[in-house]
């Protein structure tokens, strides 16, 4: 029971932390709870489908189907985070202002929220499919009783959910002045970490070169599989011994998202300057 609890906890942890961050990052956007539930539900259903299709997926691309599938899932997740951060760069001030008024929510965030739901679904799917496979394997292959396995799984799930909730509660305590900068930065680093994992998958499938392996190795200081290492791995993509290509993907993702965000923000500011003086003074009152 303990073994299955630990594995399910580790799989759940990643999804739970990400959902905790996303739930916080979308505060003040109308209808976010519904979209988050849709995301989780689709992710859970998707987990079972992907788990059932494991053999088929694995056979693609001369045995590298799984890597390519994971890389595609990670790529979409990175794009969704980029979309969210760019959207936030033009709506963050509005959200921070409105969050002070109880019950007021930004209404035009539906498209943004559908991107968030996709991100949540893909995160749940990645970890969920492994959990389903593991539990299914235990149920068919081992001497562990079904009851003890399910209890363990439920405990692991509960543990993960608690950590995710703590993440959310912790983030919500950050003063509004810094709030969206903090969640935006967390999501930026999360995207960079996912991108680095995507590089790892493509290297494993031998689609791209690893360049230098490893670029550095600090596993004697902070191993990736230690508790701190694993949490940092989930949050910012920490790896004790990354390859050169992973670091390229990591830095490249940060550069592209930061660059696009700055570009979109500058365009919007130029548009605002062309508006009437009255609208301009309203906006500056809002952002101050």
């Amino acid at each position: 029971m303990f073994g299955s609890a630990l594995i399910i906890f580790r799989e759940t942890l990643e999804a739970a932390l990400v959902i905790g961050i996303i739930a916080a990052a979308t505060r003040g956007v109308s209808g976010r709870t519904l979209w988050l539930i849709i995301g989780v539900t689709c992710g859970v259903i998707g987990s079972f489908i992907v788990a059932a299709l494991t053999d088929t997926i694995a056979d693609f691309a001369e045995g590298s189907g799984q890597e390519l599938f994971n890389a595609a899932v990670l790529a979409i997740a990175v794009v969704m985070i980029a979309w969210h951060n760019i959207w936030m760069s033009t709506h963050g001030a509005e959200l921070a202002r409105d969050a002070k008024r109880i019950g007021s929510e930004v209404k035009d965030g539906q498209r943004e929220l559908s991107a968030i739901a996709i991100l949540v679904a893909l995160t749940v799917l990645r970890e969920g499919a492994e959990s389903v496979l593991f539990l299914h394997g235990m149920a068919t292959g081992s001497e562990t009783s079904l009851m003890s396995m399910l209890t363990g799984g439920a405990l692991g799930l509960l543990g993960g959910a608690i950590v995710g909730t703590l993440m959310f509660i912790g983030l919500m305590r950050i003063p509004l002045r810094w709030f969206f900068s903090v969640t935006g930065t967390l999501l930026l680093l999360l995207a960079a970490g996912l991108s680095s994992q995507m590089a790892k998958m493509l290297i494993q499938a031998d689609w791209i070169p690893a360049l230098v392996t490893p670029l550095w190795d600090i596993s004697s200081v902070l191993p990736t599989n230690s508790v701190t290492g694993s949490i940092l791995h989930v949050l910012i993509g920490y790896e004790a011994s990354p390859s050169g290509m992973q670091i390229l993907f990591y830095a490249g993702t940060i550069a592209v998202i930061v660059g696009l965000t700055a570009l979109v923000r500058r365009n919007q500011q130029q548009q605002q300057q062309q508006q009437t003086p009255q609208a301009k003074s309203e906006l500056s009152a809002g952002t101050s």
Partner: protein, 67 residues
């Protein structure tokens, strides 16, 4: 230092799926029941690179040695 890339073929012969995992090698891959999986590793610095089957960590252990 092993300059070459090596293709590992992991053969999961029993009826339950397994995850080949190694933080040292920077690799993880699910191997479905009764099937083979391919993982490319290297070039590697000389050294020992342990790996485990994540779903059966107590017994499924091994090590890749690069010379």
């Amino acid at each position: 230092m092993c300059q070459k890339k090596v293709k590992l073929i992991i053969d999961n012969q029993d009826a339950s799926p397994e995850e080949f995992e190694s933080h040292e090698l920077n690799r993880e891959k699910i191997i479905p029941a009764k099937s083979k999986g391919v993982v490319y590793i290297g070039p590697l610095k000389a050294g020992k690179y342990p790996f485990v089957g994540e779903f059966n960590q107590a017994t499924a252990r091994g090590v890749v040695i690069a010379e």
